[in-house]
Symmetry: C2
């Protein structure tokens, strides 16, 4: 949610006894009175913003609409249980579009054992909107939050970054299983999923935790698509620029104590790579670990590394 | 959800051990494990379809967006606990619109003790969409469903019907408290809330229960707004026509055994009226109880009662 509105809501919303974790994290945690808490998240995707329906198989839009929500549950180490789907369909051929959207969601839902529990279908003259709410339950050790990182914790990431808009953003597999494996086996202090860019989401995690983050940029795992973009586009952005700033990677960023991080890195318990890219620091803000251990500011919106050694914000 | 899509989904969706009640009722019931069940419903409202944003205070749109969801929980006799809000905002003045929408939701949320737990904010070039998911918990006797009415049960309704589009549809109070009082004190077999029209939603309840419904149309409580519409419009529709077919009343229709219905009617336990309008019957379909106890077909889409005594479907 947009930061300005989040700030307004945090001031305006009354406290509520059932709310264990409210606005500002990847998902909310609600106490329904039984012995289990409910982890809930909502995300809407729209034609013309999150995809171009005229150019893609609508099944990919359906997949993405559910996947972004499951990614939010993964960022909380919550086990997904169910999802409800609100569709706002264009009038023309709405039924067939709806069927294709669900056909895109269902294999993903089945892989992660998510029940499509209900929905709401509407038709209008505007473009497609798909709003999905995913519901999960915390694992036995509770949820991961954004605000638990401590100075000295290592920064770990799953997978690789950059160039997602070339196609991966429509087909990515949310890191649900990976999160559950990590949460079960290791002490993780904080987590976030990368929707808006590695540097931006890392800075949000650090900010929520009241600390800073220092990134060894040469350690950031770069996706093939980022190399491809750097090679084929003439805007001067390097593959690393793409990896740090592109967004929609939907990988996990984790804070773990160094001894735990060492174990994770040695054991590599996932089917995908897990990499250390830096450390949380007591200096607030986002930093780049330069040669010799020096800290230099790193923009949370992406950066351009010039040969002079100065850093400038990317457009 | 549109019936054709519901039918497709019911065939296509795999069963799921956590799903206690899936697509087709007013809300879903999900087992989160550890004795916790979650009642969940989603509804989206759109500018130009559910309201005309240019003509109303946006707070009323915010109120309606939450109220339609709480009405679905009321139809299940579920106690609302939390809601998450996805906003798709027009680019121009989006922040101020969002604030007003929340200002419209918050008093309603506070009256019913609902936590606004989270959300998602998006901006685009299209019109406003507000998609809200409301989460509740079942009462001690479980939820009301649509499929529990039995032939011989009385048909009870809260409040009065018709003419909602003259304004009440934006400002109605969902029957949350009324549902909780009734569920706690009385044995209710089935329930639905009236979103699409008394006759249509009653026929849905009857159909889901595998029985018919016979309405004593002269017993249907008619809202003042329906009388006003009949008086001021020249389309020939009576106040009763409006009451039976208009929709967006968001009152409750209930099935109760006759002895229980007698008690409810005698005790009138609510701050609003509760009225008996007929009886469920073994003959499937929707019927009008004519003088002498004769059953005549009643259209589920509204009707025009002609002086000849024939019934024709309203346009």
């Amino acid at each position: 949610m947009e930061q300005e509105l989040v700030d307004w809501l945090k001031k305006r919303l009354p406290s509520h006894p059932a709310l264990r974790l409210g606005i500002g994290d990847d998902a909310a945690v609600v106490d329904l009175g039984g012995s289990t808490e409910c982890v809930v998240t909502v995300d809407a995707v729209m034609d013309g913003v999150d995809f171009e329906l005229a150019k893609i198989d609508p099944r990919r839009a359906g997949h993405k609409a559910l996947a972004v929500n499951l990614s939010d549950l993964a960022a909380m180490a919550a086990r997904p249980v169910a999802a409800v789907v609100a569709l706002v369909l264009p009038r023309r051929d709405g039924y067939n579009l709806a069927v294709k959207l669900f056909e895109g969601m269902l294999p993903l839902a089945e892989r992660h054992n998510v029940a499509i529990a209900g929905g709401d279908t509407n038709t209008w003259d505007g473009p497609l909107v798909v709003s999905i709410t995913a519901i999960g339950r915390p694992g036995p050790r509770g949820v991961w939050r954004r605000d638990g990182a401590r100075p000295g914790d290592d920064i770990l990431v799953t997978g690789s970054f950059g160039g997602s808009l070339a196609g991966r953003h429509l087909d990515f597999e949310p890191r649900v299983r990976e999160a559950l494996v990590l949460a079960e086996r290791y002490e993780i202090h904080a987590a976030i999923d990368v929707s808006d860019g590695l540097s931006l989401d890392l800075s949000r995690l650090a900010e929520a935790s009241g600390c800073g983050a220092a990134v060894a940029v040469d350690q950031v795992p770069i996706a093939d698509a980022a190399h491809e973009l750097a090679r084929t586009q003439s805007d001067g952005r390097t593959a690393l620029d793409h990896a740090v700033a592109d967004g929609e990677d939907f990988e996990l960023v984790l804070a773990a104590p160094p001894n735990i991080a060492d174990r994770i890195l040695a054991e590599q318990p996932l089917d995908i790579s897990i990499t250390r890219i830096g450390q949380f620091a007591s200096n607030r803000g986002l930093w780049q670990l330069a040669a010799g251990g020096q800290l230099m500011p790193l923009s949370a919106r992406g950066y351009v590394h010039r040969s002079s050694g100065t850093l400038a914000e990317a457009p």
